[in-house]
């Protein structure tokens, strides 16, 4: 399995996606640093209002989707691809419900520094998940319509981006949610 990989490692699409991810990392790093810089100002609000338990469950869905994505790419499996999309959608629904609850409690991007940084960081991540779902949907559609025309690198590239979105959440979840336990 590993031996078959090097053929796509130097593919230009995959390299392009990898470089794109590198620049996206700088983007998220800046936003995360802003969150950390303002952490103390919002810590009381964060401790009182963030639902770690529920979010952990939805996070597990996202983390699991990386595994299903790997299985999908390995076997070029539409079924695993659909599973990945479902798990990603579950995560977004979870995030949406968390947003709805916070907003109903009067915590929004304009209410205080915590809201500003929380909604910006998690919102930007959510938009990237949404973008990933669009890419997954495009890959699935292409595979349904003309499976032979889909290059192996398309699976690899979409997978790489999806794993990145997942890794960003590991960081965001740690900083925003697990950070309240400190």
């Amino acid at each position: 399995m590993i031996a078959a990989r090097p053929a796509v490692v130097l593919d230009r699409t995959l390299l392009g996606v990898a470089i794109f991810i590198a620049s996206e990392s700088v983007f998220f790093l800046a936003i995360v640093l802003a969150y950390v810089a303002y952490r103390d100002a919002g810590l009381v609000t964060a401790k009182a209002n963030l639902d770690i338990g529920r979010t952990t469950i939805f996070s597990l869905a996202l983390f699991a989707s990386s595994a299903t994505m790997a299985l999908a790419a390995r076997g070029r499996s539409r079924r695993w691809l659909a599973a990945t999309m479902t798990l990603g959608a579950i995560f977004l629904i979870g995030q949406g419900s968390e947003y709805a609850r916070l907003l109903s409690e009067g915590i929004g991007p304009g209410s205080a520094l915590f809201g500003t940084t929380f909604f910006t960081l998690t919102g930007l991540h959510g938009l990237h998940v949404l973008g990933g779902l669009v890419a997954l949907a495009a890959l699935l559609t292409a595979n349904v319509r003309r499976p032979r025309a889909v290059h192996a690198v398309a699976w690899e590239s979409v997978g790489l981006y999806w794993h990145f979105v997942d890794v960003v959440w590991v960081v965001v979840f740690s900083v925003v949610y697990l950070g309240t336990l400190l």
């Binding site: 470089i19 620049s23 700088v26 983007f27 936003i31 303002y38 991007p109 520094l113 500003t116």
Partner: protein, 541 residues
């Protein structure tokens, strides 16, 4: 087989028109056209500023207009003129120089250009929407917050720069992948022309720097549109966070603008000295050093903020350190010329002009890295003089050198050398007359971004001199424009290789065919065309 829409296909031979083209050469020309257009607009804004400042206590424009003019002038020249011009040359030349048929992602390339252009149009749309941004090109918080900039100008600044930046980032990915994976056989990374090296390093800088700007813009957007508090000190935010993020982008941006121009003159000087470049490895290596260091110098824009003596000392040291790899290149270029058979064509004149002017700008830069000096002259015309010596005296002269050098390749016709000489000397005189006096004005304490000054300051004569210089510079640009238009129509036919040059782009026709090369020869050295012309005196590497 389902039909693939026509716009998806690469054009093979037939033109598909400027709107749909995905050919790297045509997109390069589009970028250059965008750069020229915005350069003209930014130049007119500069003339407006100089006209207002020509005499003390003038009322040619009101303060609000003046604020908008200097803000948009900065944004335009940096992001909508210089960067597109450099990216345009890179787009056109990199595939030709490395023996590739196109860039790695032709359609993404078109997307990059159109995003960059739409970003620029968004910035200018602000004029129609109730007033341009008026908070400086760096748009410092909290001045840029809704409370102090209630109009929509800053919102268009945010949108325009974000869209333009997305285009630039995508373009950098494209160029980096092209250089890394699309070189022809034998074209090792240690053999690519130095302009390609500079483009690669610049792409890395763009990928590291622009996302920080995008992040800052997103935060400003949240503050202005969603009532956020990132840069709002009243609610616990920190205005200085904007400065950190902005200059983390802003200083690498300086090198994004100057490295490709350095690459251009590194192509021009050897050809017109009839020698290989002196110290290829040092020029390439020192650029990598500059790239690393450039991410560690941003706070030298912030000495006056009060970060603390330790922080200031560290950033002062790194800023001086970066002068070393920059200075190395100056010696490389001079050593290339020593002992060479110099042909002082217009391209070469501009390249030599670059070296002279960039040394002045570089030295005033080192003086600004000294904290006490910076504290004395920060936000004064001394800084304005410095940055224009680097960006006009450096980058723009480099771009003009590149324009005279590669225009024949792009169009098949030579630019007029006669008009070229007029262009060079009026530029040289006008530029120095405009910006040299500003050193003294700054040292005497004339603040930048202020729409007028009292007669009693005694700054009138030097300002008048500066404005006269700007007028001469405008004449120089008109001469260049006339040269462009006339040569395009009736310039001397160039042939494939009018300069007896060294690199692959001159081995194909002028202008090159859509597929660039009919056949790619195996490259065995750094000067493939020289090797082909002089097989008995091939380069050893």
């Amino acid at each position: 087989m389902t039909a693939i829409p026509l716009w998806v296909r690469r054009p093979t031979g037939e033109r598909v028109g400027w709107l749909r083209t995905v050919d790297h050469k045509e997109i390069g020309v589009l970028y250059i056209g965008m750069g020229v257009a915005f350069f003209a607009i930014g130049g007119i804004e500069a003339l407006l500023l100089r006209a207002q400042l020509a005499t003390p206590e003038a009322n040619l424009v009101d303060p609000e207009t003046f604020n908008q003019a200097f803000t948009v002038h900065g944004v335009t020249m940096i992001l909508l003129a210089v960067v597109p011009l450099l990216v345009g040359f890179a787009n056109y030349l990199v595939p030709l120089m490395i023996g590739a048929p196109d860039v790695a992602f032709p359609r993404l390339n078109a997307l990059s250009f159109w995003l960059s252009l739409v970003g620029g149009i968004l910035v200018y749309f602000s004029f129609l929407a109730g007033g341009a941004p008026d908070t400086g090109w760096f748009s410092y918080a909290p001045l840029s917050e809704r409370a102090f900039a209630p109009g929509t100008g800053v919102d268009y600044y945010v949108l325009g720069l974000a869209v333009n930046g997305a285009g630039t980032i995508i373009g950098a990915i494209n160029l980096a992948v092209t250089i890394l994976l699309m070189r022809c056989p034998g074209m090792a990374i240690s053999r690519v022309p130095l302009f390609v090296w500079m483009t690669l390093v610049t792409s890395v800088l763009i990928l590291g720097a622009y996302p920080a700007l995008t992040a800052a813009l997103v935060m400003l957007f949240v503050d202005r549109q969603l009532g956020g508090h990132f840069f709002d000190p009243v609610s616990g935010g920190q205005a200085v966070l904007w400065q950190h993020l902005f200059w983390f982008f802003g200083h690498p941006e300086v090198y994004i603008m100057v490295l490709p121009a350095m690459g251009m003159i590194s192509e021009v000087i050897p050809v017109f000295s009839r020698k290989p470049i002196f110290g290829y490895g040092f020029i390439a290596g020192s650029s990598v050093a500059i790239a690393f260091l450039s991410f560690g110098v941003w706070a030298h824009h912030m000495f006056a903020v009060g970060l603390g003596d330790t922080e200031n000392a560290i950033f002062s040291a790194t800023s001086m350190l970066i002068a070393i790899p920059t200075g190395v290149k100056i010696f490389n270029w001079i050593a290339t010329m020593i002992g060479g058979r110099l042909r002082m064509s217009t391209a070469m004149l501009f390249a030599v002009g670059f070296i002279a002017m960039f040394v002045i700008g570089g030295l005033s830069g080192v003086s600004l890295a000294v904290v006490p000096i910076d504290l004395a002259v920060t936000d004064s015309y001394y800084v304005v003089a410095h940055l224009h010596y680097v960006l006009f005296g450096g980058t723009m002269l480099g771009i003009f050198a590149g324009a005279y050098y590669w225009f024949p390749k792009m169009t098949g016709r030579l630019l007029s050398e006669g008009l070229g000489r007029w262009h060079f000397w009026t530029t040289f005189a006008g530029f120095n007359l405009t910006f040299l006096p500003q050193h003294w004005l700054g040292a005497e304490g004339m603040p930048r971004r202020v729409f007028t000054y009292a007669t009693s300051t005694g700054w009138g004569p030097l300002n008048l001199l500066s404005t006269i210089g700007a007028g001469i510079l405008a004449v120089a640009m008109v001469i260049f424009l006339v040269n462009l238009v006339r040569s395009l129509r009736s310039g001397e036919i160039a042939g494939d290789d009018p300069w007896d040059a060294f690199t692959l782009e001159w081995s194909t026709t002028s202008p090159p065919p859509p597929e660039n090369f009919s056949s790619i020869p195996a490259v065995t050295g750094r000067r493939p065309l020289w090797d082909r012309k002089h097989p008995e005196r091939r380069d050893v590497r």
